[in-house]
Symmetry: C2
Subunit: 348 residues, 2 copies
DNA sequence: TTGAAAGCGCTAACAG
DNA sequence: CTGTTAGCGCTTTCAA
């Protein structure tokens, strides 16, 4: 049997409550007894039972992480490990552990979260995505459970602490960059339209297109999954068009990788025949052929800030709602090139 | 206030224990009362408190994941997200959640694990690495706590359930592959020598070298970190040698990436001037320039089996110790080429 | 400064 | 088939 607080109390000749106070390092206990109790603890190899403490305490020192879709699929995208790295760092500093439940469908995920919240398994939650019209968000809001979103909430922006990039501006900037390079036929390949980040990036793209007086064409907008395969399908559609684009804004590095592959298979050269920019700057983007011009969104920082702020929220429920915008930066590499009109006719 | 089991009991006119039984779907409760209780539950929006249950139960339905070094650093290597994907899948199937504590130093990690175990926060543990002379392993063994190792235990192989590849053979095979291509000066770039996997791969390499009657040279063996930067330093050492190698066995894809970069910087062409093979087959290796010839070790499967088996161990402490070997497979891509002796003199 | 005792919410004998 | 009751191990009033 493992030693409990009672055993320690007995050995040290004090009451259990005193032992408890020693653990909490309560200043109202004399140094002498503290010492005695500590000795007893180490003599018995005592370690507090966290679960019991949590029950008495209503606090777990753990924060829950919610990943979209199945952890399974999502982890394929290096974005997630990287945010978690950041979260992990922030949590560690405050002595919080991480808890993940997993689920394949939306319903399963919801169930997992309900268990975390209702089952009191975590003190706070970080949502690693933001979906349009999200039940989870509503639930958490209704329960008044401490949580933060990595991304921009679809609704109730003023009531939800969130950590995000200015994706609208970032998208606008990269599109402008392409336009400045002389491209006039710029297409957009985005992820799931239910994700707010997709919407924001699309909007930024649109704004840039319109500002430049270019035509905003529906057939230049494609949506797929945030995965490699996503990019492949998209490319095939775009390059079957009468007037295929000369530049591509891709909403995610992993998709861009798929794009690059497919383009290569089709004998279309990047950047000579078509320019590509994407988002995230995961390690892959630096290594690909050609290295991708992409927006560094500082994923690690996104996670770090998120964990910092849930914990603040947990520890002080009066902590004000915040909106934290992490800066982004365009990383120019070799997937873009200025548009030379003569090229086009010779290439395709 | 949230509804507790007592509230439900009161409303349904039964004893709390009956409610508890309904939750557990105990067959000895009549359908009628079950129905009544369930109604009461949903009327009150009741959800069981997991923590309380854990305390009464001595079981948490959670398994702990231990990552080497700081989660922080490790997550930089795509190996880890990928094992976790596998673990996550297995855990989900059995309705287990995942729990991660993080720590920067070995001591901190140890502390985290002690908290998990002693604090009864998890039912079982998966160690995502195997270190020579590992305190953690000893501790877990002494505590008789259910755990499995991903990798080969340094000691007590017969007493620890583990999921591993046959790294010795894999390394031997790739080295032989290089030798068959005509290479006679094959170097080895490995990770931390305290990691059993490094040792195994080194041993396999050595065996192949000796079998082929080649000289085993100490200056052809370099150890660095399992990170990109690791590869860079190694290359510089090797190519300052009088007789630099014509082929490289690199113990990890990420390191190999660093190797590729550095080689490129030095104007050494892969595969024309030097061939490179590595291990893991993470997504990066397919994308790099040139695409890496690498050993697919089936990382996902490693994780999946690990979680399956800790859970078995948790649920049946009498479950026998197992050694699960996941098959590997050489993925031939473009980083290798046969050695043509004339080349050498012209190239360097 | 310390102790006694009442919970935290649930489970599991034991009894009936 | 169901109720009573005693914990699980800790924290936290309330008293002293």
């Amino acid at each position: 049997m493992v030693a409990t607080i009672k055993d320690v109390a007995k050995l040290a000749n004090v009451a259990p409550s005193t032992v408890s106070r020693v653990i909490a390092n309560n200043p109202r206990i004399s140094e002498k007894t503290k010492e005695r109790v500590r000795e007893a603890m180490s003599e018995l190899g005592y370690h507090p039972n966290f679960i019991a403490r949590s029950l008495a305490n209503q606090s777990t020192q753990a924060i829950g992480i919610v990943i979209p879709g199945s952890a399974d699929k999502a982890f394929l995208n290096p974005f997630f490990p990287e945010v978690i790295r950041g979260i992990s760092k922030g949590a560690h500093q405050k002595h919080y552990a991480l808890h993940m439940s997993t689920g394949e469908t939306d319903a399963e995920i919801m169930e997992g979260v309900v268990q975390m919240v209702e089952g009191k398994r975590v003190d706070g939650i970080i949502l690693l995505y933001s979906q349009v019209d999200d039940k989870l968000t509503k639930y958490l809001l209704r329960k008044k459970f401490p949580f933060v979103i990595v991304g921009k909430p679809f609704k109730d922006v003023e009531h939800i602490t969130h950590v995000d990039n200015d994706n609208y501006r970032a998208a606008k900037e990269v599109t402008e960059h392409l336009i400045q390079l002389g491209h006039e036929r710029v297409a957009f390949i985005g992820g799931n339209l239910k994700l707010v980040v997709t919407v924001e990036r699309l909007l930024g793209y649109e704004k840039a297109i319109r500002n430049a007086g270019l035509v905003y064409r529906d057939d230049y907008i494609i949506h797929a999954q945030f995965l490699k395969e996503g990019g492949q399908a998209a490319v095939q559609e775009l390059f079957n068009l009468d007037e295929p684009p000369t530049a591509l804004v891709v909403a995610d590095d992993l998709m861009a990788l798929g794009v690059l592959n497919t383009l290569d298979d089709m004998g279309i050269n990047v950047p000579n025949d078509v320019s590509v920019v994407s988002f995230n700057n995961v390690m892959l983007s630096e290594v690909s052929r050609p290295p991708l011009t992409t927006v560094d969104i500082n994923i690690f920082q996104l996670g770090y800030e998120a964990s910092k702020h849930v914990i603040q929220l947990v520890e002080d429920p009066m902590d004000p709602i915040k909106r934290i915008i992490i800066p982004h930066k365009l990383m120019k590499r070799q997937s873009c090139r200025e548009y030379v009109s003569t090229k086009k006719t010779t290439t395709i």
